[in-house]
Amino acid sequence: MIFDMEYETMPREALESIQLRRLQNTLSRVYATVPFYRQKFDEAGVMPGDVKSLDDLRRLPFTVKQDLRDNYPYGMFAVPMENVVRIHASSGTTGKPTVVGYTARDINTWAELIARSLASSGASRGDIIHNAYGYGLFTGGLGFHYGAETLGASVIPVSGGNTKRQVIIMRDFGPTILTSTPSYALHLAEAAEEEGVSFRDLQFKSGIFGAEPWSEDMRTELENKLGLKAIDVYGLSEVIGPGVAIECIEAQKGLHIFEDHFIPEIIDPQTGEVLPHGETGELVITTLTKEAFPVIRYRTRDITSLNPEPCVCGRTHYRMSKISGRTDDMLIIRGVNVFPSQIESVLMNIEGVEPHYQMIVDRQDNLDSLTVVVEVSEGIFSDEVKGLQQFSDTIETEIKECLGISARVRLAEPKSIERSQGKAARVIDNRKL
């Protein structure tokens, strides 16, 4: 089902003319209200009025995550605080989270995009949505909640965690649509099995899985174990949250980007050059309708490609391929963003730790697990096993406290961790994404 027939199936020409008009408005507004953008545009020598076609967009400078951090917390807001009705934040990479704001109209826009997304995955009025995305600062829970209401579906705001209770609700409440991270969905399936509840006997038609990248292999697993259609959803809080792009249930091949609200570009992450359709590179997004927190050419660091071919579902919006990786070394472990540099700074603050470590990410029983391998130096080597165990316990506790994720520490012999040229060898990701 298509929620907004007019905009979602709009002919290209009309769509692009709307994009240009909205882009020009957004540019004038950020130039006037956000000192950061004014300065960046001035430095680049491009005034909002110079953007006369969509191709002119590439003359504007990029915005990166660091810019958001530099303007923490509200420096990038384009409206006064009295117009902001909601604040969300994403996990910070070095302590500071990324803070985003929404006006009442932004909340409506977002709810509509999620309503479109739900419809795209086969949901309509009368469906019951089991929303297991976390409610809180994270955009997943509330984003899907409002969208479900806008669609007119019934939403169960179950949030994350308390898996046993979730199984009972799934069994008794008869939900037909599941919204969660893909790893949590598989975890739910196993928990259900332990409780003697078979997912395949439940009412689920589709599941909308996002907040972490997942593969076609995982789609097969999700669909087999859960007995539903697995739909990929894409979004990031810097842009709006979930609902930037979604697969359609008809094709399940690429995620339609809601182009009447966002302009996607694919760039070469090294040179910044815009790549032609079909080529793989970093996704860059410009928002066209955001009021409180517009972003201009925001580098998402997600790797994908754009497909302009028409789709069987009838939508005219371009499709992006499933995310195949990141341009930085960020890992998403159980929905939490983790950078190796964070682990490193934890380790450096513990006496006796060598600056050689490795992070190994696995998926066991459908839950991500992180093992941190740390080399034992002579300085910390104690002849007694309990001394070494205390040492690894200390590291585990520190990681839990600073990053909020559980990691297992494994002590290794000096020089046993491969010395790397770059950062990549610090991380071994055994998950099949």
């Binding site: 034992v376 080597f381 002849d383 070494l388 165990q389 494994r410 002590l411 290794a412 020089k415 046993s416």
Partner: protein, 143 residues
């Protein structure tokens, strides 16, 4: 009266122990006694050898994490109750045994046990006061 012991950190990897024995064998170092404490991830190998300095050097050169620690070698009567007498004596004096293992060779008719204590000097004093023979390092390495 302390004796020196070589402790080596070992990852639980196939062949790692053989690399230690190979390194010592090439250097002509003779192993007199050993014990291996292990967890799921790693082990600590403890050795009494005939040449501590050489063993430490060649193992470090081979990239192992090595530490010299002090232990006490004690003669134990080779009869029922022999070990119990020693442990009982230590318990009465409030001395805690971190770990212990047996030495391969005998001293006359007596067995030899290697002990690691948290209070090493005090343990030696208590044992000698109670007529237990503590064997010096230099004697131990050449037995």
């Amino acid at each position: 009266m302390k004796a020196e012991q070589i402790s080596i950190f070992l990852e639980n990897k196939a062949g790692r122990l053989a690399e230690v024995t190979g390194t010592l064998s090439e250097a002509g170092v003779n192993i007199r006694a050993l014990s291996l404490a292990d967890t799921t991830d790693f082990g600590v190998l403890r050795l009494i050898v005939d040449d501590n300095n050489k063993a430490e050097q060649v193992l470090k050169d081979a990239g192992f994490t090595v530490r010299i620690t002090h232990v006490v070698a004690v003669e134990v009567d080779d009869r029922p109750g022999g070990l119990h007498y020693i442990l009982d004596t230590l318990t009465r004096a409030g001395i805690n045994v971190e770990y212990m293992y047996a030495f391969v060779q005998q001293s006359g008719d007596n067995a030899i046990m290697i002990f690691r204590f948290d209070q090493l000097e005090e343990a030696i004093r208590v044992l000698e006061q109670n007529s237990v023979t503590v064997i010096s390092g230099s004697k131990l390495y050449t037995m």
